[in-house]
């Protein structure tokens, strides 16, 4: 029985590899809060990923609960923060962007969060002129 010619297999795999290398977006922050975003039907895709900054809101992860408690916390980049610190964060993020007018803030908020903290964040965002926001959500049918 003749053996199958597998010489083109690496090429094939390489093609798939390149596809994944291009579409991959590595998460640059380690999540310290856990969240399940709400599900919605009327969602829009996030355009211009380079102009998007993320704010994570939710209870600390299981490993951090012992030290941080189980209350809702805000995570900016790699650390926990208070609502007032968002202003500096927004300014910092904006300074590192090429298209500053397109700056968009994506709020990844756990669905069990109370609105009080979300309202606080929104007020700070208003004050820092980051008016384009996005309530991150998953698709529901």
């Amino acid at each position: 029985m003749p053996e199958m010619n597998t010489s083109s297999l690496p090429d094939l795999i390489f093609t798939i590899l390149f596809f994944f290398m291009i579409v991959t977006t590595m998460r640059e922050v380690t999540l310290k809060v856990k969240f399940t975003v709400p599900a919605g039907t009327e969602l829009e895709k996030l355009e211009k990923k380079s102009a998007v900054s993320f704010i994570y809101v939710g209870p600390p992860t299981d490993q951090l609960r012992a030290t941080m408690g189980s209350g809702t916390r805000i995570q900016l980049n790699d650390r926990f923060a208070e609502p007032a610190e968002i202003m500096d964060f927004v300014a910092q993020e904006r300074a590192s962007m090429s298209d500053q007018a397109a700056q968009q803030i994506s709020l990844k908020v756990d669905q069990k969060t109370k609105m009080g903290i979300v309202t606080d964040i929104k007020q700070v965002l208003r004050k820092s002129w980051a008016l384009k926001i996005n309530y991150s959500a998953s698709k529901r049918n």
Partner: protein, 196 residues
């Protein structure tokens, strides 16, 4: 005795597939294909001083007050309704089909491509929440309101241009947005009036 043919031995490339497989698996694992999606909102600009905020004066008929309490119950202009009724309610409010005096006033507006139309461009949907309201309920309310707008825009686009809003050209979309501007008041837990 058979003659041995001497050739340059080829490089054994059989393991290239394995190497690329490993790389492939690495990217498969680290990749997060989740195309980030969400509801896009625009916050009102910050108030210049405390006074200017109170000045915004909106007629009562132009406001749809959506209030959510901490238990997640909805109240729209004084009526308790369920989340499933909110979309219909908002559509009726924005459209004002019978020019009812209790619904937003209509103004004649000249919109390119659509001509003169009577639109309720002064309407505001104000969402008020309690600090204890859960974010999920708030999000679902926002979602329903956006759905109301999207359905209205789709209906108009189908009637005028024969296709859904998403398939219209940029000019057509702008015209439809002029007809049904999205005005959902954000932020400001107690203040209604800010646009969008």
């Amino acid at each position: 005795m058979a003659k041995k043919k001497r050739t340059v031995p080829g490089l054994n490339a059989s393991s290239t597939a394995d190497i690329s497989f490993i790389l492939l698996i690495f990217f498969l694992v680290t990749t997060s294909m989740d195309t980030d999606m969400g509801l896009v909102r625009r916050l009102p600009p910050p108030p210049e001083d405390e006074q200017s905020e109170a000045e915004i004066d909106v007629k009562e008929r132009n406001v749809l007050n959506v209030k959510i309490n901490s238990a997640g119950n909805l109240m729209v202009n004084g009526d308790y309704i369920g989340l499933d009724q909110l979309c219909e309610r908002a559509k009726e409010f924005v459209q004002n089909p019978n020019n009812s005096p209790s619904l937003p006033e209509k103004h004649a507006k000249n919109i390119p491509l659509l001509g003169m139309c009577a639109v309720t461009d002064k309407h505001v949907i104000s969402v008020q929440t309690d600090r204890g309201t859960s974010y999920n309920v708030y999000f679902q309310v926002q979602n329903e309101l956006v759905r109301a707008y999207n359905e209205l825009r789709d209906e108009l686009a189908k009637a005028r241009f024969g296709k859904v809003y998403a398939n219209c050209t940029d000019e057509q979309q702008e015209a439809i947005r002029g007809y049904y501007p999205q005005k959902i008041s954000e932020a400001e837990p107690k203040n209604y009036g800010g646009e969008k």
